[in-house]
Amino acid sequence: MSRPAAADVVSLFNDNPSWAPGFQAAGSRLRPLSGFRLAPRAVPNVSNYQQIVRMSAQTGSTTDLIKWWNGYRLRDIARAGILADVTDAWDEAARRGWSDDTALRSTFTYEGKQYGVPLYKSYYVVFYSRPAFKRLGVDVPTTWQQFLDVVDAAHAKGITPISSGGATSWESLIWFQQLVNGLDHRFYQELTAGRASYTDDVCRRAMALWSDLYRRGAFSAPDAQTTDLPAQFTQGTTAMCLYGTWNTGAFLDNGVKDADLGAFLLPPPPGGARSVIVESGVLAVSANAHKLDAAHAVARAWLNPSVQTAWSGFLRDTSADPGVVPNVGTVRQVAAQVRRERPTQAIRYWEASPPVLIEGNVQELSAFMINPTRAQATKTLTNMQHRADKEWKVWTS
């Protein structure tokens, strides 16, 4: 990792090898702007990736740029001092009108300074199969009741209404975050900041909604995989899936035609307001980078529309710059709905609280998905709160 590289290249370490062509494309646009290209290196396994970043931070042999997660996960390593301050990149982006998103900016902040620039800005939307919807004769739902009607219609026709995995993975947080945030966005923020309790009324109502949906037969088996979804969407055997827009590319690459795929923001449950969960990756500058100035220059130029167009075009996902939208029908549909409805934005649960707390709570949610009864819901919430009590003390110590 610390081998001498070409003069006009900055090294980048990430956990997704399939992004390499995208980084090359972005690099060719970065060159005229900052003077440097990108040389990506990847480790495919997420937890190994994190180990290597931590271990190499100790040995000082790190790459110039690092991909990380925002929110508390960013704070976790920022406070260890291994990242460089890139507040100037955000100021520049705000000045040039590329991205003026204060909600997003706060998730990149630690003690008043920003420690990374947004790699992408994905929304959690409901992907749907247009063939399935046509078979059911339904339209995109705009209210919760219409959504329930679609679910019931699909269930009656033997189509799996919603594919929802998470029995053994992080995906179990998707519906939890959607329902809690949808019911009360302010509460979601308080909850994830450690100022509200998991046993409060909003959480109880969210879990009740969730287990009611299970009772209706709305969900697939909890060990469903999204890699099975493309063929299911094309054949119309599954109707919907709540997921991040960053997966659009994977759907399209695995056989779903752009014309057969669509996405909409889930309508808020009764009593809630329009709100959407946002996930944003981080491009951070390593404090021990060999080419520190070069890395800073790249970070400053990252949000330039020409770079973002190349990068988002490859990713087929939305960018932190709302003006840059790739030419993919599904993504355009989402971006248009966001622009029209202006929902409040919440950070994904995965990054919303201290990592140790989240990892444990996500396992509780996975256990709930396997046994989605009201009794289990109460137990789940109690366990989550116990863990929260313990872990918040550890985090602030």
Binding site: A221, Q225, E359, S366, I370
Partner: protein, 318 residues
């Protein structure tokens, strides 16, 4: 294998001594022997010391710290105290014991059975190949395969439905202890091949005269197996059982890939707890404590089994 008939002890005593006239200095003899022994042993010992033992000792040292990968704080034995008072640890231990029993009994017995059976059957080689192939498959291919056999809408449930046994369908991987039992079956599928091969090698070391002599004495089939073959297989049995104990205590890959220790942490083994604490939660000190405990358990278990076997020298049998 060419097997010499045991030399007559009386004869060796009366064999004329060579080098009668030379005076041997016992100390230089011993020193020369020691040099030879050193030369033979050094490569193995050096590699293991440097690349395996030293990192382990460093990890054990780390278990005395509260470490998150970037900053560390000395805490003495509090990681161990926290470990033993953690309710999840008890469940981990239970699962590990289940795994030891399961993967000791099934692959070893099946391997032995098949080694002996396919010995005397015409198409034995084909049967052996069928059993051994899974061992050659990589861990991730195996996990992928068993995932889509065992997931809720996977092959097993679909087959049960198709043959009318739909009532037996279940979420194989999602509930404890069913998921542990099913994973033990999956591991047996893969591991039997290894013990089969080892037992096959062991069968080879049995001189045919011994078998003939036993047959002449009237031993047949199962009797022959129990009284003659099994004892002769002792050295290999020790290897197979020893390795099964060790590998089952370290069970990690298949549980991680199929259930991630779920639901919650119900199907975690000690190795999984160690991995989760160290690499997912970034609590290096605590994870190091778990790995020290696991190592102690494995060493103790294998010592219990192997201690009698280790003192023997060549030719004394095991």
């Amino acid at each position: 294998m060419d097997v010499l008939t045991p030399a007559d002890p009386a004869a060796s005593r009366t064999r004329p001594r060579r080098s009668h006239a030379l005076v041997h200095d016992p100390r230089s003899e011993r020193r020369r022997a020691a040099v030879w022994v050193g030369a033979f042993l050094t490569p193995a010992v050096a590699l293991i010391l440097l690349l395996l033992l030293a990192p382990f000792l460093i990890t054990a040292w780390r278990s005395l710290f509260d470490d998150n990968g970037v900053t560390a704080r000395f805490v003495g034995l509090s990681n161990y105290i926290a470990l033993f008072s953690d309710p999840d640890f008890g469940r981990s231990l239970l699962n590990t014991v289940l795994w030891v029993v399961g993967t000791l009994v099934l692959p070893v017995l099946l391997g032995l059975l098949l080694a002996v059976l396919t010995h005397s059957v015409r198409w034995g080689a084909a049967a052996r190949t069928a059993v051994v192939i899974p061992y050659a498959l990589s861990g991730s291919a195996t996990a992928l395969l068993w995932t889509f056999l065992l997931k809720t809408d996977g092959a097993v449930n679909q087959t049960l439905n198709a043959v009318g046994l739909g009532g037996l369908q279940q979420e194989w991987l999602l509930h404890w202890p069913m998921n542990t039992l099913v994973m033990i079956v999956a591991t047996t599928w893969q591991a039997t091949g290894a013990s089969l091969i080892l037992f096959l090698i062991g069968l080879q070391t049995i001189p045919s005269e011994t078998i003939e002599a036993a047959r002449l004495d009237g031993a047949q089939g199962f009797q022959l197996f129990l009284r003659v073959i099994l004892p002769q297989l002792r050295p290999m049995t020790v290897v197979v059982v020893g390795m099964s104990i060790v590998n089952s205590l370290k069970t990690f890959d298949i549980v991680w890939l199929l259930t991630q220790g779920g639901p919650g942490t119900a199907s975690e083994t000690l190795a999984l707890t160690m991995y989760r604490q160290t690499f997912t939660l970034n609590r290096y000190g605590y994870g190091a404590a778990v790995s020290v405990v696991l190592t102690v358990v494995v060493v103790a278990a294998s010592w219990l089994y192997l201690r009698r076997q280790v003192q023997q020298r060549s030719g004394e049998g095991v």
